[in-house]
Amino acid sequence: MDTRPHPAMPVPDIETLRDWLQSEIDEEVVRFGAAPKPLALGVWYATHLQVARIETRHSLPLAVLQTTFCALPRRRRAVLPLIAHANQQLERGRWFVQQEPLRLTYAMEVPAQRLDAGRLGREWRRFYNEAVAHGIELTLRLRAVTYVDLLRQKRRAREPTS
């Protein structure tokens, strides 16, 4: 395994990430943000929208993978215990709660300097598996709705009725 330093390796931008990811997965990868410099990329799955963006945190360039999986849980008192339990079972990343509306988000960071198409695809699939496995359990046990469904409902409500 090559563990030598690569000081001159450039940090990939969103377009590069998109090309790498598109070569690794079958689903269509979409950009978010304006065309010359998009902010993030994402893939719409049946269960969730999985996005990735590049951020620099503590001088360290990271590819941040994130998805908001479900929202509006009816069993609100069970949210924190179930999230704590899920976090203990995770191989990497973390689940946490965001407010207004109450929704459950899963996020993970990957060092970006040594990424390539294969590694990005591998981490993307790893993230997908973790998000789906724990997200479905959390959604069902919390009596929540998937965030994709919620977005769909909001969109329907905004559309003018004929």
Binding site: M1, T3, P5, H6, H58, N87, R92, P111, R114
Partner: protein
């Protein structure tokens, strides 16, 4: 490599090298690379050599955190794991889940975990595939984790009124010794029996899920060595609160 070392240090180095070559499921070159990174980073570390598991990682004793650095085999291959015990024991475990969730919403690397114990613990856990790292990235990651511990871990510990991780390390680290140890001389003076009844539980980090188990044990074993042995003040319960008086209703009394 062992030139200029004392015989004891040479023996330790040989034992560690043997452990690297024989026992660990992670390739030895990964361990050597990690050790070289730590050396060149100037980190003062100690190897955790388990009798059966071999080399389980390196322990770095910071002033306020017990940091474990280890390598394990994940689904994507060898992975670097950084763990830290943020606090061991707390006054407000009832708000721990909320504090941990808030910390996980703010943390920008890894995750914060709560183990109910006893003793209740807050800990930090982060892991990355080893092939995504090099020396420069590891140095940045190490600094980033330390910054996250201060930025996010400390407020979480304050929210739960946690205790310093080395305060209660020794009594919990070896419950069998606790059970066999003679009673403290002041135990008959009306003082509570120093929580020894709850000391039968294993360390919470070792009870973590399958994924987080290896990293947690690194820091825990480090803390077991680093604790203040026999410190009676560490086990003493906080003074009970005086009973609060209820105020009567304001305004004129009704008949």
């Amino acid at each position: 490599m062992t030139a200029g070392l004392t015989p004891e240090a040479t023996a330790d180095a040989n034992a560690e090298a043997q452990a690297i070559d024989l026992v660990s499921p992670v390739p030895a070159e990964c361990w050597r690379a990690l050790r070289g990174w730590l050396d060149r980073l100037g980190v003062d570390y100690e190897p955790n050599l388990h009798d059966e598991l071999g080399l389980t990682g390196y322990a770095v004793r910071l002033r306020n955190y017990l940091l474990g650095i280890g390598l394990g085999v994940r689904s994507t291959g060898p992975a670097l794991t950084l763990t830290a015990v943020l606090c061991r024991g707390m006054d407000r475990p009832q708000v721990a889940l909320a504090a941990v969730d808030r910390a996980n919403g703010q943390v920008r690397l890894g995750q914060v975990l709560f183990f109910p114990g006893p003793p209740a613990e807050l800990s930090f856990f982060a892991t990355w595939s080893f092939d995504l790292l090099d020396e420069a990235t590891f140095a940045l990651l190490f600094d980033a984790v330390l910054a996250e511990l201060n930025d996010v871990g400390f407020p979480a510990v304050m929210a739960v009124r946690g205790y310093h991780p080395t305060d209660q390390a020794a009594p919990w680290a070896d419950p069998e010794l606790q059970a066999e140890a003679p009673e403290a001389p002041d135990a008959s003076d009306g003082e509570p029996p120093a929580d020894t009844g709850t000391a039968t539980g294993t360390s919470a980090s070792n009870e973590a899920g399958t994924s987080n188990e290896a990293g947690g044990s690194d820091a825990t074993s480090a803390s077991g060595e680093a604790g203040a042995v026999g410190d009676p003040g560490a086990l003493r319960d906080p003074a009970p609160r005086p009973p609060t008086r209820r105020r009567g209703p304001r305004g004129p009394r009704r008949n």
